[in-house]
Every structure is written in C-alpha cells, then in structure tokens.
C-alpha cells in the first residue's frame, strides 16, 4: 500500500457561528511525526475534532484529503475506516460494554463482514498489546473508560490506536494529566507503530512528550492559524523561551490564556 498522506488546505472551522480555525494548511505523510503546539484556546482541539467529523463543529471552508479521498465528504465512521484515528482529549464512557468487545467490534467494522478477526487471535493480540502499554489485563473486561483514571483513559486511547492500526493518527493532548512514567509508556506505544505506513499528528500544549516521541515537524498555532513551522528545534526553543516570545516576535496582540 502506498505511503499515507493527509493534506489539509485552507481549513476553516466554526463553532456556533464563531470561526475558530481560520485557514489551516498541513501535510502529514507516513513516517512523519508532526506536532502542533500552541497556547490554549487557539483552535488546536477544534481542528482535531472537526477533522474527525464531530457534529458540533462546522467546516466553513477548505479541504482535507486522506490518500486523495475527501474526508469532509465522509461520515465519521467512514473517516475512521479510511484510516484516520483521533485519540481524544476526553474519551466518552460506555457503560456495560467491555473494552474487548468494543475493540473487536471496531476492528471487525474495518475488516468487513466477510473477514472477521478470529476471537482467540484477537484476545491474544490484545493481551500482548496491553502488556506493552503496561495496562492491567483486567481492563479488557472493564467497561469502556468507565471509572478509568485520566491516565488510564489516555493509555486506553493508545491501545485502541495500536489495535486498529490507522494510517494517520491525531493525538489530541494525549499527554495532559499524565505523570512522566505514563508519558513514557504512551510515547513508547506510538514509537512502536512508527513506519512508512503510519503518520502521527501530536497536538500538545507542552514540549515534554516530544522528548520521547521525536517529531519531524513542529508547528505553532495561534488564533486559528499555523503561525510558524520548523523542525524539532522549534519545540525546544518554545520550551526555553515560552509562547510569549513567539507571540511578540510575530506581533500578535491577543493575550495568551494561562493554564496550570
């Protein structure tokens, strides 16, 4: 299969009539790790959710293509089956549905009716993946995200990504609320998947996770646009000098919202 490519051109997204993402251009290919950094409230998560097709967000203009196919024409589940994955900042809880049942249903939804994953093979692979992500095996039978801690939810997102094997994954604040050990585990999960056939877009407020997942490209987003793109050195510079430095250098007026 050809190397995946996600191409976004001039994407504009609104919420309740207010434009949040104001023309975003980005290309992510297999084997690449992109990071979108930026202060809170600049539209990073809005962009991620809209790309996946969340009904609360309205695409006002622009295009988003995955492997030459128009994502914006597809329903949410079609985008997923086309190979797009979104690790969510606040994953939903589904009472009464076990993680394993959910994952197997999702996996089979991708594979098509005539090619379901054999149950035993699935469980074997699931257990193996859970071990490598330091997830307690009992989580296979726990209800999806119900009663999970913040860190458990995030690891569960990475587990799903690992099982489903998408072509392009968007990780929305996967590092928020994680201690350093958990960040390492999550990063290892991502690194193990990296190949020519898999591209990643990490959305984060902090540089920390990029110590463990080496980005190929770093972008800074402010006020709904990407205001600077460079190599990994940009993340280090931001870490050292703060977003204010870049804001002032670019002559942007709006204050930065503070977050702990």
């Amino acid at each position: 299969m050809a190397r995946p490519v996600l191409e976004i051109r001039g994407l504009r997204v609104g919420v309740e009539g207010r434009e949040i993402v104001k023309g975003l251009d980005l290309t992510v290919r297999g084997g690449e790790v992109h990071a979108i950094m930026g202060p809170n409230g600049t539209g990073k998560s809005t962009f991620a959710s809209a790309l996946m097709g969340h009904p609360a967000y309205e695409v006002l203009g622009g295009s988003a293509m995955l492997d030459g196919k128009d994502l914006l024409e597809m329903a949410v589940d079609e985008r997923a089956r086309a190979g797009l994955f979104l690790a969510m900042q606040y994953p939903a809880e589904i009472a009464g549905v076990s993680n394993a049942n959910f994952l197997r249903t999702a996996l089979n939804a991708r594979r098509g009716e005539d090619d379901p994953m054999p149950v035993l093979k699935f469980h074997k692979e699931l257990q193996q993946k859970m071990r490598s992500l330091a997830i307690d095996p009992v989580f296979a039978e726990r209800y999806v995200n119900e009663g999970f801690s913040g860190g458990e939810k995030k690891r569960n997102e990475i587990l799903q990504m690992s099982v489903l094997g998408p072509r392009i994954a968007v990780l929305d604040e996967i590092d928020s609320g994680l201690d350093i050990d958990a960040v390492k585990v999550v990063a290892q999960g991502v690194n193990e998947m990296l190949s020519e056939n898999f591209g990643v877009l990490i959305i984060t407020h902090y540089q920390r996770i990029l110590n463990f997942i080496k980005p190929t490209n770093v972008h800074v987003m402010m006020q709904g646009r990407i205001v600077r793109s460079a190599g990994p050195e940009l993340a280090e510079e931001l870490e050292a000098r703060g977003y204010e430095w870049l804001r002032d250098a670019l002559g942007i007026e709006e204050p930065l919202s503070q977050e702990a």
């Binding site: 949410v76 939903a92 589904i94 009464g96 959910f102 249903t105 999702a106 939804a109």
Partner: protein, 466 residues
C-alpha cells in the same frame, strides 16, 4: 374492536401465522356458558367449575384498572376465549400436528430443547400441544406438567396452592384468567432437589382476536432450586389479541426460584399479566423480566417475603418502539424481619414508544433489619418518545433501609461520536450503547438466551436511527 395502527411490522420477525387448524372453539365473547364449556371439555372436578364461574362474576363486577395504559379499545366481546388446536398432546414432536410443529420449528424450540433445556412445554392458543421433561429430572422427582394435566394427576397438591397466591379477587384480569384459564405450566420441585438446567415454556398465539389465558403454578420445596424460562410470540393481525396469564409461585424455606421471561408478543397484543411469588424463610425469588413486544404490557412481578431473611430480586427491561406502551415494574413486599429486595429496571423508549416504570416497595410491621434497593434507568432515543417512573414506597416500620436511584439519559452525542470515530456505523454504535445499557439484564440470562436477546434488540434497532 377498532383497528389499531399496525406497528413495528417491518421489525417483527414472528408475525407469520398458520391457517386455523383448531378442532374446537367457544366462539367470540364471554358468557357463563363459555366458562361451562371450557370446564366440561376439560372434564374438570366440580370445585374448579365453580371456581371458574365465581371468578367470572368477579370479573364482570370489577372495574377496569384506573392506572397503566389505554385499554379503551379492548373489547371483551371480540375475543375468543378458548380454542383447542389439537386433540392430542405430544411427548415427542412427531406427535404434534405437522403445521403446529413447523411453527415451533421456525421458532427454534425443538432445537433449543435438544441443546440446553431440561424440559419443554409448548402452548398453541389455549392448549399445550407438546410437553416433555428429561428423564433424569423426572427421576429426581421433579414434576413438570401442563397445568390441566396437573389438576388431574396431582389434585391435592394442586388444590392446596391454586388460587392462593393470586386469588380471583386480586384484580379484573386475574379474575378473567381464573374464569377461562387453560394450559400453562405446573412445576413441583421436591425438597433438596436442584434442577441445574432450565425448564422452558413457550407460548404461541396463532388465531386472530385470540385470548390466551395460561395459568402457571410453581412450588419449590425446601432447599430446592429451579430455573424456569418462558418465551412468547404471536402473529401480527390488524385486530388485537389478549394475553392474560396468572403465575403463582411458592418458594419454601431456603429454596430458590428464578423465573425468566422474554416477552416478544406481536404489536397487536394486549399483555396483562399477574405474576406473584411468596418467599418463605431464607428463600430467594428472582424475576428476570424482559419486555420487548406487545401493544400494551401491564405487568409487575411481585414477591411477598413472608419468612425471615427472604430475598427478592427483580430485574426488568422494557423496550418500547412505535405504538408500544410498556407499563412494567415490580413489587417487593417485606412482611418479615431481615428480608432484602433489589429491583433493577431498565427502560428504553424509541420511535415514539412509551415506557412506565411502576413499582411498589412495601415494608409491613415488624420487619426490622429489612432492606430494599430500587434502581431505575431510562434511555430515551428521541423527543417523541416518553418515559415515566412511578415508584411507590410504603413503610410501616422505620427500622428498615430503603435506597432509590433513578436516571434518565438520552443517547449522547459524545458517545455516538466516540464509537463512530472507531469505525462503527451509527446503527452499530447505537446498538452498542443499548446493549451496554441492558447488560445487567443480559448477563443474567443463560448464554443461549443472551444471544437471542441480543438478536432481538438488534432487530428492534433496525431503522431506529436516521
């Protein structure tokens, strides 16, 4: 009778019917002669004939219930109260008339019997046409008969309990059943005997405007155990049919009874049923009650805990789609110290359907140390659907503990988005949320029934999302 809107036809899989193969019926309407004819046909003792006639009087005197669903279109004169499908009752399926056997084949009953049941009873309109119990259970002394045969074969045991748990005076429909009852199951489990595999009865209405009035009596003696499962379906007709059963259960000291129902009547059936159990000292009675079908169901399985330490467990689900009203619930009546009850109700309203949880928890006098816990969860799909919760608590002794929790939720956009973002279609995602919602119910079912339940829910959900 007015013609109700035919609802849910495209989703209901069991709506086929056979031609009328009956060998006898009493015609439409209800008169003392009809009751006499039924009793005579069955060759019953005088006491039963008199019981029936007295019950008919009670039925005629009692007003219609002033609660529950809309019964204004139910015309008692349009119903046929007794229809005998065949002159023989088989103990092998070969003995069952071909047409009727084919119907039960289509419903999967003989196959289920071969695979995982200890005994099967199959009722078609008014009579049980097939009845069998596994030899090993029979050898243990377990009696599993159709109720008419039990009256003949165990007259004393029968008379000791019949009508004592649900007397005809209880309510209008209990009186109606008492007047015209036919078929149903009789089970006696001797002291200390445990039936490890379920006994099943299947109730099928075939004729149009039919009334089915089976009567079930279960006696579980001390330290004994039984699991009884019933299923029900009917053809779809434009006119309504009436199913009005009475179930009486006695669970003696330290005994255990589980009664599982998967009710999937066609959407033109009024399902008005009285189910009640008496639980003695340290006995456990469990009602696992699934209501998917019918036009209107009014059913509140009850447990009267009369012995110290008795336990009641009711797990009820109701799914109401277009044109359906499930008025279901439970009653836990604490009449002895240290009795405990749990009621879990899960209701799903969709496509304009209506669910009502109607429950009673009663603590009598001198029931210190008793506990009750009620949990009602409702899932609503759309704005046109409706759900109500009507819990009633009566407490005559304040040395008790009572917990009540109720939640109402809509299928959330965030949940749907999450599941769809992993590749599930809207329909698959909705189904998964629903299956998760009723999981506390399905996990209590024997595996084969859980599979069937999942399949039914899947059928119910087809076309339920836009």
């Amino acid at each position: 009778m007015s013609k109700p809107e035919i609802t849910g036809v495209e989703e209901y899989q069991y709506g086929f019917h056979d031609r009328d193969v009956s060998v006898f019926n009493t015609g439409k309407g209800l008169r003392p002669e009809v009751v006499e004819a039924i009793s005579k046909m069955k060759g019953e003792p005088d006491w039963m004939r008199e019981f029936r006639l007295r019950s008919l009087e009670i039925f005629l005197e009692k007003p219609m219930p002033n609660f529950g669903g809309n019964l204004s279109d139910l015309n008692f004169e349009d119903i046929t109260y007794y229809r005998r499908p065949s002159d023989q009752k088989g103990r092998t399926w070969e003995d069952v008339p071909t047409e009727i056997k084919d119907t039960f084949e289509k419903l999967g009953i003989p196959e289920a019997e071969r695979k995982f049941l200890a005994g099967v009873s199959a009722q078609y309109d008014s009579e049980v046409v097939y009845h069998n119990i596994r030899k090993d259970l029979e050898d243990m002394g377990i009696v599993f008969l159709d109720t008419d045969s039990a009256l003949r074969e165990f007259p004393e045991l029968f008379r000791e309990y019949f009508g004592t748990i649900v007397p005809p005076e209880d309510n209008k429909f209990a009186a109606l059943n008492s007047a015209v009852w036919s078929g149903g199951s009789f089970i006696y489990v001797p002291k200390g005997v445990e039936a490890k595999v379920p006994l099943q009865a299947y109730f099928r209405i075939n004729a149009s405007q039919m009334g089915q009035f089976e009567r079930t009596l279960i006696i579980v003696d001390e330290d004994a155990m039984v699991h009884y499962v019933e299923g029900c379906t009917a053809p779809i007709y434009s006119e309504s049919s009436l199913h009005s059963a009475v179930v009486e259960i006695v669970v003696k000291k330290n005994a255990r009874c589980r009664y599982t129902t998967i009710q999937n009547w066609a959407p033109n059936v009024y399902n008005l049923v009285t189910k009640r159990a008496v639980a003695h000292e340290h006995a456990t009675m469990e009602w696992i009650d699934g209501n998917i079908g019918s036009q209107l169901t009014m059913k509140y399985p009850s447990v009267y805990m009369v012995g110290e330490g008795a336990h009641a467990h009711v797990l009820s689900i109701a799914v109401a789609g277009r044109g359906q009203h499930q008025d279901a619930g439970a009653k836990a009546v604490h009449l002895a110290p240290n009795t405990t009850s749990t009621i879990i109700s899960k209701s799903i309203s969709r496509a304009g359907g209506r669910t009502t949880y109607r429950g009673l928890v009663h603590f009598g006098e001198n029931v210190q140390g008793s506990k009750a816990k009620v949990n009602c969860d409702t899932l609503i799909f759309d704005d046109g659907s409706k759900a109500d919760t009507i819990p009633v608590n009566e407490v005559l002794d304040n040395r008790v503990t009572m917990e009540h929790e109720a939640t109402v939720s809509k299928v959330s956009e965030e949940q749907l988005f999450y599941l769809k973002s992993r590749g599930l279609t809207e329909e698959e995602a909705t189904r998964m949320i629903v299956m998760g919602f009723i999981e506390p119910f399905t996990k209590e079912l024997p595996m084969e029934y859980a599979v069937e339940m999942n399949r039914l829910i899947k059928l119910e959900m087809v076309g339920s999302v836009g």
